[in-house]
Amino acid sequence: MMDQLKRYFRPEQLREMSLIALIVFIFLFFGSQIEGYFSPRIFNRVTSDVAIIAVVALGETLVLLTRNYDLSVGSIVGLTAFFIGKQLTAYADMPPGLAMLLAIGAGSSLGLINGLLVAYARIPSIIVTLGTLAIYRAVLVAYPGNKIVVINDLPPWVSEFGSIQLFSIGEFDIRPVVAGAFVMFVIFQFVTTYLRFGRQLYAIGSNPEAARIGGLPSQRIVLSAFILCGAIAGLAGFLYLVRYGNLNTAAAQGMELKAIAAAVVGGISTNGGKGTIMGALLGALMINLLQQSLLRWLVISNFWVDALLGLLILTAVFIDSVIINRLSELWNRRDQEINPLDEKKTIKEKKSNAA
């Protein structure tokens, strides 16, 4: 019975399932505490917010998988959102598709700078992106003209884009932003699981030295991970602009921490090579659900959000490094027992067990 179960579930899957259980628990708990929690209005607001942070977390995950960090995503999101906002204010007849492409292009060129410095100049990613975090924000502040984007100056489709519904189930709208984010997650889950590029990300992350000796073009892959992360952050910048409309120079500040938190809570190891894209989605969902719920829960002040977030990250990493590792060992040991080559050992153990 136990062996049967074990054949179907790995510890990582156990982790994701407990995350889902936790999310359901949070959902039900706050549902019983907050009036109108299951109303369509809150559903729409939460899903739109989750979509943005989840997309950023997706890009961050690609970089984390290669055992690197990108601390600059918050600044990339802010800078591209601000840049596109300014462009739309100046050229109101720009089609939405072009604006989106522009955002992706701007984001990927910022990611390119990060990637070149990390992969080819061999500077640790934490240093590079801590630096570009400040630099990109400074570029945003130094942007000519006044320091704000106002929704009234933007073309009308911007304010409508966020609230149009693709289709709705009952009164619950599924907005294009949400559907788009979900499709992206499915695509990248496929890419990282089945395509060569995705597996190379894992290979580099789990052992960079072995990957290099094994002949993988490590530098190029790390570079493309950073470019992809930048491009996705650029897209998130576009979504951010569409969602909020009014921006100042502090737009999306601190989003990098939320993105890393989402990925880590979702089971992405900061030592690289571990975790799944869907895990990151679950992490983003959980963090955002907690945040949005605490904002509406009057029992404790909403200032607790960040304190809890810190604790959550620490707990998630602790669970990964202690409990999941133990479980994996247990799984592997049992696997060996089943292996007929280890029969002697098994018999010995059985004897000792019997005694």
Partner: protein, 334 residues
Amino acid sequence: MLRRLEPLKSWEGVLLVILIGIVIFNSSMTPHYLQFQNQINLFQLHIEKVIIALIMTFIIINAEIDISVGSVMALAGCVMGYLFEKGLPFELCVLAGLLTGALTGAFNGFMVAHVKMTSLIVTLSGLIGYRGLAHVLLENRSVGNFPEWFDRLGQKPLVGPFPFALILFFLLLIIALIILQWSGAGRYVFVIGNNSEVARYSGVNVRRVKMTLFIISGLVSALGGLLLAARLGSIRGDMAIGTELEVITMVLLGGVSIFGGTGSLFGVLLSILIILNLRNGMGLLNVPGENQTGVIGALLILSVLGPNIWLGISESWNRRHVQRTRVGEEEKGG
């Protein structure tokens, strides 16, 4: 002639040249620049970061990192402010603030040294969490009206032209220099930074060293937070945001390797002078605060890129030098 320039080939030499360049540029901008009082003000404006940079040097040489320093500063300040608001005697509040710092440091240290989690992720969650706790304590309020002696300590000179914080910095600098450069404990820090496995097998108590460093880091950050509170005269939950960027830049620009094991306080001292003077110069040119931070960020990247490139240049120069002498010897022999 070239031999005379030999000492400048070290990274410290490069820093010295950069520093002289900045000082010359700044003093050409305004005649008041080189005045003694301006130089003291320069330090006074960033004294908390400068003090924290001292302990950060130890931590990075030890191949760890602490990016929670800014949040610990805020938390210590907020604990002090919160208790003061509640009417506790002020001296007790100061002690509680310092104790908070030591506790956060001990927590970080325990997670790193005993649970064996990466210091980056531990202090990252500290960066978010401690700042969150600070906001929980003071919410959106700001606490001020501290006793007069506290404000005076932060704002007025104590002995001659020197304010308290500056004197404290020089004291800590001397202690840090003695410990890091000339004592056995300092050797341990270097050895662990080079290879903690080897250090462990050689009988160094790695856990205790790391634990001590993180506790001191928390304590010094709390001290920095209180000094900032004394200088500004008030405390808010969002104070000292982004301190870690500048502190880490100071340390890495000083030639300390991010991988641990190498670096010296002399280099860090030079890079502190560079950053302070650079900020002052940018202030003279009316560069806004965020853009100054951007320049610091660029400096951070350059501070790692620079030594790498410099090493390459000086190596190739050495190689050519050796080759030339060899060719000369062969010619002589032939």
